[in-house]
C-alpha cells in the first residue's frame, strides 16, 4: 500500500517536472479492494495505451464509501459490491458510461446485471463474482467438511474454527441455516440467526479476515472464507480445500464503476472496454481464482478452474446462493444483533 502510494507520488511529481515540455501523461486512477486485480492486467493496459495506471486499495465497501464521502477525490474507477453499487447510485456518485453500447458488452452474461439501479448496464459493468464458503485443512479434519454442521463438529472435537469479522456475512450464515433470506428485515428472522450463532459462539475461536495462515499451518482447521482461497488450494491441493456448504451460501459480486468526480473519464471508459476483451478478463480470473461474468472469458480459462464446481458451481448450487442487497434503515437491526453476538461469552 505504502509503496504504491509512494510510486504514485513519484509518478505525479515526475509528471509535474516534465510537464513543461510535453503535455502531461495520460493517467487512470483505480480504487479497488486489496489484491482484487491481476497486476499483469494493468501492465498490459499501460503497454497497449500508454496510459499510466495507479492503484489504491480498500478493505470494505463501507471504507470506500466513507472515504469518498469524506472528500477523497482523484479516483476514476471503483469496484463496489452490487448492494453498494445501488447505494452509490442513490447517492448520485456514479457516472453514466453507456458501456452497454460497446460491442464487446455482448460477452457479459446478462444474469450478472444484478444492480436494481442499473438493470441494463448503462453505468457499471459486472467485474467478478464468487462465493463465501468454508476453507479448511484436509490433514486436520476427521472427515471432509460439507456443511456448517461438519464445521462446528470439528470445533466440538476441540479444534479451532474461525468465522469472518463481517456483520452481514456471519449473520448471513445464521439466516441461511434457518432457511431465511440474507436480506431479511424481519426481527424474528434475525433473532433466529442470532440464537443460532450464540449457541455456537463458544465454539468459534475468532472473528477475523486473517485466517488463511492459521488454516495453512493447521492451527485452525477451518475458516469461513472467500472463494479466493482457491488460490492457496491450487498451491497445496493435498492439504487444503474450499467448499460451498451444502445448505447454501452467500455470493458476492463487484461491479466496475466510473465516479461522477472522475478526472479521467475517457481513460476510464477505455479501461472498461479493454476489460471486456475475453482474453484480459480470463487473465484476471485465472489469477484471482474466482468467477467471471464474461461468457467468452469463461471458455478461455484453464480447465481446472473452469470445471471446478467450487468456483463455477452447477446450476442447482447456483440456485442456492444468495446475494446481499441494500437494506436501508434495517441495517440498524443487524448492527444491534451483531454487537450482541460479539459481546456474548
Amino acid at each position: 500500500m505504502l509503496t504504491l502510494r509512494k510510486t504514485t507520488l513519484c509518478a505525479a511529481l515526475g509528471a509535474f517536472l516534465f510537464a513543461n515540455g510535453a503535455a502531461a501523461a495520460e493517467e487512470l486512477h483505480l480504487y479497488n479492494w486489496g489484491d482484487y486485480i491481476n497486476p499483469e492486467v494493468l501492465k498490459r493496459f499501460t503497454a497497449e495505451t500508454g496510459i499510466k495506471v495507479s492503484l489504491d486499495t480498500y478493505g470494505s465497501n463501507e471504507e470506500m464509501l466513507a472515504k469518498l464521502q469524506a472528500g477523497a477525490s482523484g479516483y476514476d474507477i471503483v469496484f463496489p459490491s452490487v448492494h453498494m453499487h445501488d447505494s452509490m447510485a442513490a447517492l448520485d456518485l456514479l457516472e453514466k458510461t453507456d458501456i452497454n453500447q460497446s460491442p464487446a458488452f455482448a460477452n457479459i452474461d446478462p444474469q450478472f446485471l444484478r444492480a436494481k439501479s442499473d438493470p441494463n448496464g448503462e453505468y457499471c459493468m459486472p467485474y467478478a463474482w464468487g462465493t463465501v464458503g468454508i476453507f479448511y485443512n484436509k490433514t486436520k479434519v476427521s472427515k471432509p467438511i460439507e456443511t456448517w454442521d461438519d464445521f462446528f463438529a470439528e470445533a466440538k472435537a476441540g479444534k479451532k474454527v474461525i468465522m469472518l469479522d463481517d456483520m452481514r456475512e456471519t449473520l448471513g450464515v445464521g439466516l441461511i441455516e434457518n432457511g431465511k433470506s440474507v436480506n431479511s428485515t424481519n426481527r424474528d428472522d434475525l433473532k433466529l440467526a442470532a440464537d443460532w450463532l450464540l449457541q455456537r459462539k463458544p465454539l468459534i475461536s475468532a472473528f477475523t479476515y486473517d485466517s488463511v495462515p492459521m488454516v495453512q499451518s493447521g492451527d485452525a482447521v477451518a475458516a469461513q472464507y472467500f472463494v479466493g482461497a482457491e488460490m492457496y488450494v491450487k498451491q497445496e491441493p493435498e492439504k487444503l480445500a474450499y467448499v460451498i456448504p451444502k445448505g447454501g451460501a452467500t455470493m458476492y459480486q463487484e461491479d466496475m464503476c466510473v465516479l461522477k468526480s472522475a478526472p479521467n473519464k475517457a481513460n476510464a471508459k477505455r479501461f472498461m472496454e479493454f476489460f471486456l476483451d475475453p482474453e484480459i478478463a480470463a487473465l484476471n480470473t485465472a489469477q484471482q481464482t474466482n468467477g467471471t461474468p464474461n461468457k467468452a472469458a469463461l471458455k478461455l480459462l484453464p480447465s481446472d478452474l473452469r470445471d471446478d464446481p467450487q468456483i463455477n458451481p452447477p446450476a442447482d448450487v447456483m440456485a442456492k446462493l444468495q446475494i446481499f442487497e441494500d437494506i436501508g434503515k434495517a441495517l440498524k437491526l443487524y448492527d444491534r444483533t451483531w454487537t450482541k453476538v460479539r459481546t456474548a461469552n
Partner: protein, 296 residues
C-alpha cells in the same frame, strides 16, 4: 511603566496565540463537530440528517423510541469491560516498568543511554507488523508452544484469541509509554534521602513506602494516564490477538462508522468514553491535591 507592561502583555499574546490557534483548530473544532453529530439523526448511507435525535445517547443510557432504536445494557457492559482491560494493562505495564526503571537508573551513563535506545527501538517498526509477530508467537504451533514441547511439556497452552492474548499485546505495546515517565521520576530520586532514612532506623519496607513510592508517584500517575487512555480506545490488539472475541469500545466505535453506517451513534459512544475518561482524570487530580495537602 504601563507601556512596559503593555508591551509584555502584547509579547505574551503574540507568543501564546499560535499555540491557542493550533489547539483551537485541531482540538476544539473536531470536538465540536463530534458533539454536534452525536445529537443528530444518522443518514441512510453514512453522514447525518440535520434533525435533533436524542436516541444516540438513549441507546446507551436508557431511553429510546423502542422501534428503530432500543436501549440495550450491552453498550455499558462493553464500556465497563474496556475500563477493566485498560486498568489491568496499566497495572501490568507498571509491574514491568517500575523495577526496570530502578535497574536502568543504577547503570553507568553509557549503559543507561543504550537501555533508553532499546526501549524506543520497537517504534522503528510498524505496530501492525509487531502484532502479527505476536500472532506467530502465541498460536498453537507458535514459538511458546514449540518451546514448551521441546522442554517436554506436552499440553499446548491456548493463548491466541483469548483475553490473555489481548492483555499480553496491550502490555507489550504500552510498556514504553509507562517506562519513560516512571524512569524520569526514578532518576531524579535523591539517594541521600534513602541513606538518611536508613540511618534513622527505617526498615527497607518503610523506606520504600514512606520515601521512594511517594517521590516516584508523579511519574507513576503520569505513566498510568498515558497508558490508560489509549488502551481504553484500542481496537487493533483486540481484533488481531483477541480475534474480535473480546469486543471493546474502540471496535464498537469503528463498527458504527463503517459497517453500521451510523456516524452519530459512533460519535455519541466516543463522547461518552471521553466524559468517562475526564471524570477519571478529575478524580485523579483531586486525589493528588489532597495528598499534597496532607504532606504539607
Amino acid at each position: 511603566m504601563s507601556t512596559l507592561e503593555g508591551r509584555k502583555r502584547l509579547q505574551l499574546l503574540g507568543l501564546l496565540s499560535p499555540a491557542t490557534f493550533v489547539i483551537g483548530l485541531f482540538f476544539i473544532a473536531p470536538l465540536v463537530i463530534m458533539a454536534t453529530y452525536s445529537m443528530l439523526e444518522p443518514g441512510l448511507y453514512g453522514g447525518v440528517e440535520w434533525n435533533f435525535y436524542p436516541d444516540n445517547f438513549g441507546r446507551v443510557l436508557g431511553w429510546a423510541d423502542g422501534t428503530l432504536e432500543e436501549f440495550d445494557p450491552v453498550y455499558l457492559e462493553i464500556i465497563l469491560r474496556s475500563f477493566k482491560l485498560a486498568a489491568i494493562t496499566v497495572f501490568l505495564t507498571l509491574l514491568v516498568c517500575y523495577p526496570a526503571a530502578f535497574w536502568v537508573a543504577r547503570q553507568p551513563e553509557k549503559m543507561r543511554n543504550f537501555c533508553m535506545f532499546l526501549i524506543t527501538l520497537p517504534f522503528f517498526t510498524s505496530l501492525i507488523i509487531r502484532l502479527y509477530a505476536w500472532v506467530l508467537i502465541l498460536r498453537p504451533s507458535g514459538f511458546i508452544n514449540t518451546t514448551l514441547l521441546a522442554l517436554g511439556i506436552n499440553t499446548p497452552i491456548n493463548l491466541i484469541y483469548t483475553e490473555t492474548a489481548v492483555l499480553i499485546g496491550m502490555t507489550y505495546i504500552f510498556i514504553p509509554f509507562m517506562f519513560m515517565p516512571v524512569y524520569a521520576s526514578v532518576e531524579k530520586l535523591d539517594r541521600r534521602l534513602l541513606e538518611a532514612s536508613a540511618d534513622l532506623g527505617a526498615s527497607r519496607w518503610q523506606s520504600f513506602w514512606k520515601i521512594i513510592f511517594p517521590m516516584t508517584l508523579p511519574g507513576v500517575a503520569a505513566g498510568s494516564i498515558i497508558v490508560f487512555i489509549p488502551s481504553l480506545g484500542n481496537f487493533i490488539v483486540p481484533s488481531l490477538l483477541g480475534g474480535a472475541q473480546v469486543l471493546m469500545i474502540g471496535s464498537l466505535v469503528e463498527q458504527q462508522f463503517l459497517a453500521a453506517r451510523n456516524w452519530p451513534f459512533g460519535a455519541a459512544l466516543a463522547m461518552l468514553l471521553m466524559v468517562a475518561v475526564l471524570i477519571c482524570l478529575i478524580l485523579n487530580v483531586l486525589a493528588q491535591n489532597r495528598n499534597k495537602a496532607g504532606v504539607s
